[in-house]
Amino acid sequence: MNSAANAVTLAKEHASKRLAEARADFPILAERVHGRKLIYLDSAASAQKPRAVIAAMVETMEKQYANVHRGLHWMSERATDAYETARAAVARLLNAREPEEIVFVRNSTEGINLVAHSYGRGVLKAGQAVLISEMEHHSNIVPWQMLHDAHGIALRVAPVTDSGELDMQAYARLLEDGRVGLVAITHMSNVLGTVTPAERIIRMAHDAGAKALLDGSQAIVHRPVDVQALDADFYVFTGHKLYGPTGIGVLWARRELLERMPPFLGGGEMISEVTFERSRWASLPHKFEAGTPAIVEAVGLGAAIRYVEEIGYPAITAHEAELTEHALARLAGVPALAVLGQAQDRGGVVSFTLDGVHAHDVATLLDRSGIAVRAGHHCAEPLMRRFGLASTARASFALYTTREEIDALVDALGKVQEFFA
């Protein structure tokens, strides 16, 4: 074995060892629920937080907290540094050209609303269209409906195939007339687990003269994202699904787009000069960050990113792929259980229905076994309607999920069936 290959092997061993020990980094995983060990299979709704994130936030508040960007004193300079270091971490995570392309928002929903409001009203013209898909979360549907109602910008919807993948032929047809100004599609479905062919989606959008926004809320948790390699125009994700705190999310956009876009919210922080006649906007990214931002939360997100980088995407992706394969194989053996979505390329989210047992009843019974799953329409009602369902139960996996937890889910599902038989 040559030394380079040896180094790779060592790095892999280190990565998997680090991952195997990761459970201990999440204090909440030691909690008990209804007297049983917590089995948390609802990470796609919100992930648990490692000690590194909690500690970084506590330390900020205990040792270096003040308002940011008004730094005429030491504490404010420290806080500004910490806040901007978090922005740099996000830029590194996404491989953005520069940290100024990173806008901190509350969550993905706010990021999409910012684009719908600012790019939608400020740049798109009536008569143009926004193209989304049938598998979008409500957060990537409703802002565009609001834009349509206010500004006459049409909303087009690319259908999903029976296997739960984006219908690329229909997508191409919807782009054909050149009226689509913006494509806004999920990078990974929160219901089906489908990972969409982002590069192809973006290339086709560009060929048709449209910009492309990807909703990376789920995807970024499971895979590395390189906005330059993807050639994306906008990318949004939320901190709390990436092991960070709530209240902090990210909008990345190309500098030239952010410069063309009018501000979303007006107020402090986002101006360079204010008179009662008019105001001039601050430089990027501050133009889009009106008011005191979520300083502590941004620091928490920065810590979460460092945590993910330390474990490493190769190890995370491999671990979750193995868990998903194991889950699909085990669930296939549960009688009368149907998994929704059979995409070729998928992440660690599995939705299913159990014949004759409503998803809520499934979730309540699983909860009594200490197993947390989500049940309902997962904020994707149009997708559920597409498959003729009102609700499904959903198990979702994270870097701390184990095979044994999936086995426990499968065993409990067998007992759920017995209970209702």
Partner: protein, 151 residues
């Protein structure tokens, strides 16, 4: 494994959810409303027919929902017949109390005895609205509204 769930999923609830006796659209009705639980996507349509004396003569429903919501609609339909709107609205109030607290402050009568198995839901805060969905629809129907929400 689920011993402690017996309080929520009592035999009578499982039975009514599996084979609801009133789970049908009435051919002839004079009041109806849809009930909607937006958080979970459960839906129910309720049909009520009054007799010449103004008392409820028949109740039917079509539902897409969990065991609790279907059983609750079925048990509700069972206790409504032969009652006036006024009585029914009072009963709805007492049922809501039952679902939230497991108890009803007013002395039990026959109707509340029938509904009692649903009292177990009070230990499951996220499921209370499953139990009350049909009653929300009932109130809407009797008040001439077309839709109700359990939110």
């Amino acid at each position: 494994m689920f011993d402690d769930l017996d309080e929520l999923y009592q035999e009578v609830i499982i039975e009514h959810s599996r084979r609801p006796r009133h789970g049908r659209r009435l051919e002839c009705f004079d009041a109806s409303a849809k009930g909607d639980n937006p958080m979970c996507g459960d839906r129910l349509e309720l049909f009520v027919r009054h007799g010449p004396d103004g008392q409820i003569e028949d109740v039917g429903f079509e539902a897409r929902g969990c065991a609790i919501s279907v059983a609750s609609a079925d048990l509700m339909a069972e206790v409504l017949r032969g009652r006036s709107d006024e009585e029914v609205l009072q009963l709805a109030e007492r049922f809501r109390e039952l679902a939230r607290t497991g108890r009803s402050s007013v002395p039990a009568d026959e109707a509340l005895e029938t509904l009692q198995p649903l009292g177990g839901v009070h230990n499951y805060p996220s499921r209370v609205k499953c139990a009350t969905l049909a009653w929300h629809a009932l109130i809407a129907a009797l008040q001439g509204r077309k839709e109700a929400s359990s939110e």
